[in-house]
């Protein structure tokens, strides 16, 4: 795969967490490219570095050595402001625990990234309604997170992640807090997003969810140990 085609690319990325008892090595010399439209699943035991890699891809964290190139930008060479702007406009995050803001309605949660990106009012309002409709929650926009089920909250979180039309959707165990049936709903939604051309990198322990990805990387002790294609 050519680097120019990659939405995000890790180049010999290593991540160490400094601890009083000595550095903890989360990732070691990871090189990996995710092409536009790709659907990649990261699997492996807890603590193998999956979420760390996701954070590096999303410019939430920086590698200790090596580099992450997101949409052609070396995240390590950017200041905090530029990295934040990159997250706002190019990356969508979906978390295991949804992380919706509890004081906002579902509609307002979806609206939030567009407000920050200063999208024109009419456009952002139409987009928020469109996204809630896309995830099947058009009639729940006025509800607060506390009034929604786990699956509904995760669908709102996916709608929020898509708000600014990101090139890359990062999902960290999106079905981890959900029962099997609800997890299937989210899995189908992600598959639909992939089919619509969204680039997805997914961390999961769920083999069924990973199976719908085109590529699956298995990590162990901070290294890629296996790559499979479906």
């Amino acid at each position: 795969m050519k680097g120019s085609e990659a939405v995000v690319e890790a180049r010999h990325a290593t991540k160490l967490y400094p601890m009083p008892a000595g550095d903890v090595r989360a990732l070691t010399d990871i090189s990996l490219a995710v092409a536009a439209g790709d659907y990649l699943a990261l699997m492996g035991p807890s603590g193998c570095g999956k979420s760390t890699l996701l954070n590096l891809f999303g410019a939430v964290d920086l590698p200790t050595s090596g580099s992450i190139v997101l949409e052609g930008e070396d995240t390590g060479a950017l200041g905090d402001g530029a990295r934040t702007a990159l997250r706002l406009t190019r990356v969508g995050f979906v978390f295991q625990r949804f992380f919706l803001l509890p004081m906002l309605s579902a509609y307002e949660n979806v609206l939030l990234p567009m407000l920050e990106a200063r999208m024109p009012r009419a456009e952002r309002e139409a987009r928020a309604h469109e996204l809630l409709d896309y995830v099947g929650l058009a009639n729940r926009g006025d509800h607060r997170p506390a009034q929604l089920s786990g699956g509904e909250m995760q669908r709102v979180a996916i709608a929020r992640a898509l708000a600014n039309r990101p090139r890359l959707l990062l999902a960290d165990e999106p079905t981890g807090e959900l029962d099997e049936a609800t997890g299937d709903v989210i899995a189908r939604l992600l598959a639909r997003l992939s089919a619509d051309g969204v680039t997805i990198v997914l961390v999961t322990h769920n083999p069924a969810l990973a199976a719908q990805a085109r590529r699956t990387l298995h990590l162990r002790d901070g290294r890629i140990v296996e790559e499979t294609y479906s």
Binding site: V60, T84, A85, R87, F93, R97, F99, L101, L104, E116
Partner: protein
């Protein structure tokens, strides 16, 4: 957007926000009261002196602040001399002494007579600014020194004197400068007619006062030397008090010459302990404001680390997170301003009533006086202090480690 989020955050924690606003309102009330107190007496004194409208004061040597025993003989001639100096617009003599009064009916009654003493001011009615008529009429201008054509001399009483004498406008009183030790009444009294009841600007709270034409007062007191306790002068536009003082000192070295503004400055200096008192308590109230906002916002930021990490992950820049926390502190203070100022105004009214009931204070003086400056200072200080108090929690919020916090929130 951050204002919208700040509002939602404050509404979400209604009880906490309400308690914090109440606490801030109390400290704001204290600060407002201290702002009123620090400038209150000064403003009040200035207001009274401005109402009287004189810039210069000439007294017998050693007569400050006031002595009814020390007099300047030939008061009108001296006043004319002062008024003739370059830079002086006009001048008036003022003489004050004690008179004894009793109701006219009491002198004829069989009951024991008891005259009432009162502080009498000799003032030209057409130019006086020392009292304001509240009921009845003022003293008509006219010749003085001999009884009026009707044989009855007009007088203006203050409310306390009128109350003590049971007098109302139109009533007749008996007056003398001497008390009859045998009868307890006024000795060889002259008749006065109450023209009106007025509020006298420098009255003490328990003081009975009256005003007569200067000539009437001198006649009743049996003084033919036209005495003056002091002279009051107004500067002409562009007139220099220093120049007038130098000229007057050369002419009358036996007198003291004072600028009212200088005397005011001296009084202000003597009242500086009120300013120190209000400065200390005002600082304490600001400290309370600071600590309240600092504590609440630090707790809120620590509780909301996860939310802050989410906002940062979603693309909210660090300065925006700082702004969010600062706006919340500012909003808490802004919400407290209304009830705080109201509470302060009510407390100031009560405190002023207590303090001004002290004996020996002129009626027109107040300790807590509203000035736009006091209000602006209070509002500005509270808002700035609360915003600054948000700086530390805002810094905490800005340095949130997004990846680590998100990891902690999950595990």
């Amino acid at each position: 957007m951050i204002a919208f989020l700040a509002r939602r955050n404050l509404v979400r924690q209604r009880a906490r926000t309400l308690l914090c606003v109440l606490g801030l309102a109390v400290s704001t009330a204290l600060l407002y009261d201290m702002a009123l107190l620090s400038s209150g007496l000064k403003a009040s004194l200035t207001r009274v002196l401005d109402a009287i409208g004189y810039d210069l004061r000439v007294l017998p040597s050693g007569g400050l602040p006031f002595s009814s025993d020390a007099v300047l003989p030939g008061g009108h001639a001296l006043a004319a001399e002062l008024a003739a100096l370059p830079g002086v617009a006009e001048a008036e003599p003022l003489w004050a002494t004690t008179l004894y009064l009793e109701p006219r009916a009491a002198a004829a009654a069989a009951a024991p007579r008891r005259a009432v003493s009162a502080f009498a001011l000799g003032l030209a009615p057409e130019r006086q600014t020392m009292y304001r008529i509240e009921r009845g009429a003022g003293i008509p201008p006219g010749a003085t020194g001999s009884p009026a054509a009707s044989g009855v001399t007009p007088v203006v009483l203050n409310a306390l004197a009128a109350q003590a004498l049971g007098a109302a406008p139109g009533d007749t009183l008996l007056v003398s400068a001497t008390l009859d030790a045998v009868s307890g009444g006024a000795l060889r009294p002259e008749r006065l007619r109450v023209a009106g009841i007025g509020e006298f600007r420098f009255d003490m709270r328990t003081q009975r006062s009256l005003s007569l034409r200067p000539g009437d007062l001198a006649r009743i007191a049996g003084r033919g030397d036209d005495p003056a306790s002091f002279l009051l002068g107004k500067l002409a536009p562009g007139g220099s008090a220093r120049t007038v003082a130098a000229r007057w000192a050369a002419l009358h070295p036996e007198t003291e010459f004072h600028e009212v503004s200088e005397m005011l400055a001296q009084v202000r200096g003597q009242l500086s302990y009120f300013q120190q008192f209000s400065l200390i308590l005002g600082t304490v109230s600001l400290l309370v404001t600071f600590l309240l906002v600092l504590t609440l916002q630090t707790l809120a930021v620590n509780e909301r680390q996860g939310e802050i990490a989410i906002l940062r992950a979603l693309g909210l820049r660090a300065p925006r997170v700082v702004g969010l926390v600062l706006i919340e502190g500012f909003a808490l203070a802004a919400l407290a301003l209304g009830p705080g100022i109201l509470l302060g105004a009510v407390a100031a009214r009560g405190l002023d009533a207590i303090l001004t009931s002290s004996p020996g204070l002129p009626v027109g003086l107040s300790f807590f006086v509203f000035t736009p400056g006091a209000l602006v200072r209070t509002v500005g200080l509270v808002l700035v202090t609360a915003t600054l108090a948000g700086a530390y929690p805002a810094w905490l919020a800005a340095r949130t480690n997004v990846a680590l916090t998100l990891h902690r929130e999950v595990t």
